[in-house]
Amino acid sequence: MKEKSTTPVRSASADQVHQSLRNLLVRQKNACDWLGLRAYREQSTFLGVKNEKFDHQREQVENGVMVEVICDGHFGYAATQDLSDAGLDRAFTQALALARSFASRALHRFSFSEVRPKAQGSYRSPGKITMDQLGFAEASERLTKASLAMKVSDEVIHRMARLILVETSIQLVSSSGTEVDQEFKMLMTDFNAAAKRGSEVQVRSDQGGLARCYQSGMEDLQLDNILPRCYKVGVEAVSLLSAEDCPSGKFDVILAPDQMMLQIHESIGHPLELDRILGDERNFAGWSFVGLEDFGVLQYGSPLMNVTYDPTQHQELASFSFDDGGQRATSEFLIKEGKLVRGLGGLESQARSHKPGVANFRSASWNRAPIDRMGNINLLPGSSSLPEMVKSIERGVMMYSNKSWSIDDYRRKFQFSCEYGEFIENGKVTKVVKNPNYRGETLGFWRSLAAVGDKIETYGSPYCGKGEPSQIIRVGHSAPHCLFRNLEVFGGGK
């Protein structure tokens, strides 16, 4: 479970920012109905080794404040990097002007006590070791060894070993008494290999591109774990060169947890976002086939399907104590025994829709207003073992690691492809197949869920896009292997 600190988590420089925010509150809180400030600092370090040679290093620092103002029930937002009193005052003036100017054209009039409650607390993610503590030289050395482990033959023409370490600090203060400090350390790794024979190229990775991303520090860059995984990546890339193309037809399919992640994300997470259902995303990411009337009624999938929004999971990428609207984060069922019970909407969407939601009102950084985002969306384990599932299949395909994804704007018709497939005949895995693809429609797909595995694996993505202006958010997904009956499956080709 998450580690809550009982002492303040702020650093000395964060204390200075906090004091500046409090000073602004004192100066300006009577000039509007409500004033909230979100200070956001993030340092990201990117490091990569290609074909056992140093490839790239980059660091990126974000540091700024979003000023949020409510006037006549309408929000105005202004973002600044100038954290001096003058800079914050200027941003306040801009936010106030926007709130006032558009109040008469507001889509919804909010009560600040309803959508920005007093929140107090802190959160610190479990990661410990920073890049400075481990050192670039040591990190590069480990990545070089990882790259070498993927070189299982001369046919492996390209090997990339890379990591991203992110350290984030978010402070919320508001005129309603909010005082929230949250600090995160996140390590994301990616190991992939391309193998070539003639004109054929096949790529294999360590559970999919950057799928291994967790709230942790450099202490998790351990060669004991990494090298066997990288060796397997290389071996499987080469094995795909000899594999037959995935056959076409209707087959039973077992999706491994690293593909379930994508399936959950696209066909459960996005359609359940309340702001999408309310129409905010219609010009960009899209609407949803789910309507407000469906909550508590719609049979989304088979009774084996239990899905939660859970920001309390240890090390999962989108764990926290409070969202950016100040709602305390709790674990909630979205789908229970196949029935849709709750949407993904923060306090603003809950006020607009009169539906229950979750603490998912999140922004990508200091320069964006929060919107409804996914966090940790998890499919709970069932009672089937993987061997039992394989044994139950007469002709089928097991698919691993997402390679390509596409779904329509209402989140109905999807098509996904995977890196690696295994053909199953008469209850046994008989051969490797390449370019496994499948397509289907969301409700029919989830209703065909026939077995849920008893062991979960957790992955995530640092890159979920949405919103106008657009925002990238980090999400976590855990799931077991799952068996679906009678899907439309096909392979590659022209």
Binding site: Y77, Q81, R282, F284, D409, Q415, P469
Partner: protein, 448 residues
């Protein structure tokens, strides 16, 4: 809050900061500084009302520090508060020197060069962003208008310690919008450097007319192959997916480019197809994030043959091929597909029987090795019979081979093209875009 002289003030401040930092360098140290910033108003609307309005003022400095065959990259905020920035960048410079020591040597070290000077400042043509927002909303009140306004200044600049100085600034806006009727919507994009309320009303009127076609009975297609017209916006979606490494020389070498077989000459596409980078469109400066200057025009495809890929200086060092000063990602920044000989008013007649695709959605490679693409139809897409629109289609999934679509299945390109700015706003407002014609193709395959 929308100072007309914002970009000039930034330029003056930027010159001072660069001078400060260059003066602190020691012997044989080199430093390149690239600026990216904006002072933007973002207004998001739904049901012709404002959902969220945000003012964002931000500047970032990408620093490339080179010393003794090593390179350190750092991206830092620039606050325009001189005391804060001076103190911050002095600390950053110390940190760069310390951390550079820890890095391995760069095996593909690109020595810094003076790539000359350039200066472009797009005149502020007004009106102010807040006025644009008001004028945008005024004629939409009886519509289910869902839109996104972005307006304000954007700056890009690069200087280095060898004397290179490039500056690019422009004030622009775009309204990316759709008008809904039930679940169907007409979509369009109005953009430029000078918002004109009369032109806006004309554009809205055209969208309303488009919406009338959407009120016709919906046509549900059976999966199969169709003759199809792709509008410039639909083609932009296809081009967008090729920007995921297809034009990259690095991608060609590591096997991730979907155009590998095309570059190897194993496929020959339509002789009607001419594609190139064209910076005369004015959407993007020629200098990249390292200040390296690309040719004003670079042909990539001539008469269906892929003659050039995009090569960064890094790839040039690694693979010993000439660079064309592409960006580090080796993605197109100002792509143009040359128009053909089909007049746009003749599109429906030439299409005759088929589908008119105004917009596509969520494209991805379904098989990158064979350049096969999947995606969805979206917004105002129609079924056409006898050269006339019969009604909107129910959204369909397609799965097509790009080498067929741009090869034997390419029927015609329109003579009129459209400049489509990049409307992406992840992290910051993008620059760049493309200039594209419409395209008629045969055997466009719907699968679901």
């Amino acid at each position: 809050m929308f100072a007309k002289d914002w970009s000039q003030r930034v330029e003056s401040y930027w010159n001072g900061i660069c001078g400060d930092l260059f003066s602190q360098l020691q012997d044989s140290e080199n430093l390149s500084l690239s600026l990216s910033g904006e002072n933007s108003l973002y207004v998001r609307t739904s049901q012709a009302k404002v959902r969220q309005a945000t003012q964002v003022e931000q500047l970032f400095v990408a620093m490339v520090f080179k010393h003794q065959q090593k390179t350190y990259h750092s991206r830092q905020p620039l606050t325009m508060n001189l005391a804060q920035d001076r103190a911050h960048f002095q600390e950053v410079l110390k940190m760069l020197r310390k951390r550079l020591q820890e890095l391995p040597e760069d095996p593909y070290f690109v020595p810094m060069k003076n790539e000359g000077t350039s200066h472009f400042h797009g005149a502020h043509a007004g009106p102010e962003p807040m006025q644009i927002a008001e004028q945008m909303l005024e004629p939409t009140q009886n519509l289910d208008f869902v839109g996104f306004l972005t307006a304000g200044d954007k700056v890009l600049a690069s200087q280095n310690s060898l004397g290179q100085r490039h500056w690019f600034s422009q004030n622009s806006f775009f309204i990316d919008y759709s008008i809904y009727h039930g679940p169907k919507a007409a979509k369009d994009l109005y953009s430029g450097s000078q918002f004109d309320s009369k032109m806006w009303e004309i554009r809205l009127g055209e969208s309303r007319k488009h919406l009338e076609h959407l009120l016709l009975p919906e046509k549900v297609l059976t999966p199969g192959k169709f003759r199809a017209y792709l509008s410039p916006h639909a083609l932009a979606q296809v081009v967008g997916i090729t920007e995921w490494g297809a034009w990259s020389f690095q991608g060609y070498k590591d096997g991730s480019s979907a155009f590998r077989n095309w570059y190897d000459g194993q496929v020959q596409l339509s002789e009607k197809l001419f594609v190139g980078e064209n910076f005369t469109l004015g959407l993007n400066p020629r200098f990249n994030e390292n200040g390296e200057v690309a040719p004003e025009k670079l042909m990539l495809v001539e008469a269906g043959q892929l003659s050039n890929l995009l090569v960064s200086t890094k790839s040039s060092q690694e693979f010993k091929v000439p660079a064309n000063n592409a960006s580090l990602s080796e993605s197109p920044r100002s792509l143009e597909i040359r128009g053909g000989d089909l007049d746009t008013p003749m599109v429906l007649g030439t299409l005759d029987h088929g589908v008119y695709l105004s917009h596509l959605h969520y494209l991805n490679w379904s098989d990158r090795q064979t350049a096969r693409i999947t995606g969805m139809t979206r917004f105002d897409c129609f079924y056409v019979e006898g050269g006339k629109i019969q009604g909107p289609i129910k959204d369909m999934r397609f799965d097509v081979g790009l080498f067929k679509m741009w090869g034997p299945n390419l029927v015609a390109l329109t003579s009129q093209s459209e400049v489509i700015p990049n409307t992406a706003t992840y992290e910051e407002r993008s620059s760049g875009g493309s200039k594209l014609p419409g395209m008629i193709v045969s055997d466009f395959e719907f699968t679901l």
